[in-house]
């Protein structure tokens, strides 16, 4: 399988991570070596195997998705990236998207 900078840049775009131009070649080399190891899985006989889903074959017990009242609003706001008074500051939502690049 041919690994080139297009594959790496596509993975970077899907990841929402900008890779500096000078680091692209090193990332291509890394991908080549790692994918070489991945291809070793072709030697494993998985004919008729189902993909792994869970360990015990029993579903994990789920908890109810119940809203919980947060007692301390300041504490919750403190955990956000940016705040102004009693509000989170959300990122700007206008501008170009990445859909075309992907």
């Amino acid at each position: 399988m041919e690994i080139d900078d297009k594959i790496v840049k596509r993975a970077a775009a899907l990841s929402g991570i900008e890779i500096e131009e000078e680091k692209t070649e090193a990332m291509v080399e890394f991908f080549r070596e790692l994918v070489g190891h991945f291809q070793g899985l072709e030697r494993c006989d998985i004919e008729g195997m189902d993909p792994f889903f869970d360990l015990d074959g029993t579903p994990c017990p789920l908890r109810e998705d119940e809203p919980v009242r947060w007692e301390n609003g300041d504490e919750a706001l403190e955990a956000g990236s940016l705040r102004e008074g009693p509000f989170f500051i959300v990122p700007p939502i206008s501008g170009a998207g990445v859909a075309d690049e992907i």
């Binding site: 790496v8 596509r10 990841s15 991945f38 899985l41 993909p51 792994f52 015990d56 908890r63």
Partner: protein, 489 residues
């Protein structure tokens, strides 16, 4: 306060019996940390104020006749990917900045309810991705047994804290060996419980089908004491479960293994390990034999051959999904940009280190259109085969004895330009995560060089207590792990 190693159980008993105060114990721990940290860099945050307040609370509880719990006044370190209310939780990353969680992780709550006092949060490979504890925004951790070497990773700071005698107990997380490998490198015990046996509520996720929280200690008795506190179902973690309620401390006290079978892995017998590590396996087998165990030959050929690529497809795939939440909007770092997409790219580019970027990109690649079946689906099928192979091995053995590592700790910088070389060092630990099994690194001694030897025990799912029993037998033969540089706990 005497300056000689003390077990957690000894501390708890002394504090509860008013032979010493929790404040004295915690102060001694903090002094030790202050003296050693410039050399080791094992901690990201020292929680001196919260620890001393907590210790004073325990002393008041004792004075008023209350039950301070089984870990009364025991100083503990937790890995910095476990949430601590109001105390920064960084995961060793710039991405989280000084994020302060508004809640404690379940295991933090459990430790504190048992009377333990958290004195610090340990340094780690960023987001638990690494095997050397060099990939941290806060700089590399040094191995207390030889500071020119790495302590292993990703829970290297927790392992180093116990080896250096900061604390008798620390918590780490293990996704592919991140407790067991640093335990082996630092010469302490480290246990990864069965997947689901310990709550992960409040653990910052790396790879959700593999992550597990577990303890480090220098004695099997302390390991058992900690497991008794943190083991069990937590309804807040939907992957947590419970099969009975084993009494770990009892297993450590009465380690009867007579008449059981120990599986020796055929593939690890010759030429794979550095000689002293191979000898550690032989000596541990002899010790178990003397205690009445029979040895059985088992094969883990597929786990050895395919475990590494399987793990390095599945774990990055899950990481790329889990770490998508770090978008510059909800937590920590936010770079300034005119629109959301630019902000996302800038923030994630600046916030994540190189190793995390490598893994996220790998995950996005193996999950992407055109490669999903070839890599991800294939790896899931191979994982199922690895689970089946362990199940087969456990039909002829009650526990498996194998190495945790193939070499002594690496020199710092050894893998700077060879990330895949670093990945290969996880060969002996990651199949255990893929199969969801409990595994434990057991300290077996120090070489003349001062570097530690160890073995790994692996048990069937939900047989975590079995590890404690066999480890206690091995410890009886080889002795407990000594403090690296003459510490107080």
């Amino acid at each position: 306060m005497k300056s000689e190693p003390m077990d957690a159980a000894v501390i708890a008993s002394a504090v509860a019996g008013r032979k010493c105060s929790a404040v004295e114990v915690v102060s001694a721990s903090l002094e030790r940390i202050a003296a050693q940290e410039p050399r080791l860099n094992a901690l990201i945050t020292v929680m001196a104020d919260r620890a001393l307040e907590r210790a004073a609370f325990i002393d008041r509880q004792v004075a008023s006749g209350g039950d301070p719990g089984p870990l009364a006044g025991v100083p503990v370190v937790v890995k910095d990917n476990l949430c601590t209310r109001g105390v920064r939780t960084t995961c060793g990353s710039r991405m989280l900045g000084n994020w302060k969680p508004p809640y404690d992780a379940a295991v933090v709550e459990m430790l504190e309810e048992a009377g333990a006092v958290i004195v610090g949060k340990s340094n780690m490979d960023e987001f638990a991705m690494g095997s050397t504890s060099e990939h941290s925004r806060f700089g590399p951790v040094s191995n207390p047994r030889d500071p020119s070497r790495v302590p292993g990773g990703s829970s290297g700071g927790s392992a180093a804290s116990v080896a250096a005698g900061y604390v008798p107990i620390a918590l780490g997380s293990d996704t592919g060996g991140s407790i067991r490998q640093p335990a082996a490198f630092c010469g302490v015990h480290g246990l990864k419980p069965t997947y689901g046996a310990v709550s992960r509520w409040g653990l910052v996720a790396f790879a959700s089908s593999l992550d597990q929280v577990g303890p480090f200690s220098r004695s099997v008795a302390d390991m058992a004491l900690t497991m008794d506190v943190i083991y069990g179902r937590d309804p807040r973690d939907s992957t947590s479960n419970e099969r009975g309620r084993p009494r770990f401390a009892e297993g450590a006290l009465n380690p009867s293994v007579r008449g059981t079978r120990v599986g020796i892995v055929r593939e690890f017998r010759e030429g794979v390990l550095e000689q002293p590590l191979a000898k550690a396996i032989e000596d541990a087998a002899l010790a178990l034999g003397e205690s009445g165990c029979a040895m059985a030959d088992v094969s883990l050929e597929e786990s050895v051959t395919f475990g590494l690529p399987c793990y390095y497809i599945i774990s990055p795939a899950e990481a790329s999904s889990n770490l998508a939440r770090f978008d510059g909007a909800r937590y920590g770092l936010r770079m300034d940009a005119p629109d959301f997409v630019s902000q996302l790219l800038l923030t994630r580019g600046a916030g994540f280190g190189d190793e995390v970027k490598r893994r996220i990109l790998t995950g996005s690649f193996v999950l992407s259109s055109g490669y999903y079946d070839a890599f991800y689906t294939t790896a899931l099928k191979v994982r199922k085969k690895i689970c089946a192979e362990f199940d087969r091995a456990f039909t002829s053995a009650d526990v498996i004895l194998m190495p945790a590592v193939s070499s002594f700790p690496f020199k710092k910088g050894n893998f700077d330009d060879d990330p895949v070389g670093m990945y290969k060092s996880d060969l002996f630990t990651l199949p255990v995560n893929l199969a969801g099994l409990p595994g434990m690194t057991v300290f077996t001694g120090l070489e003349r060089s001062g570097l530690p030897t160890s073995v790994q025990l692996v048990a069937p799912r939900w047989q975590d207590q079995r590890l404690i029993k066999y480890a206690a037998v091995i410890e009886k033969k080889f002795g407990r792990s000594p403090v690296a540089t003459g510490g107080c706990f």
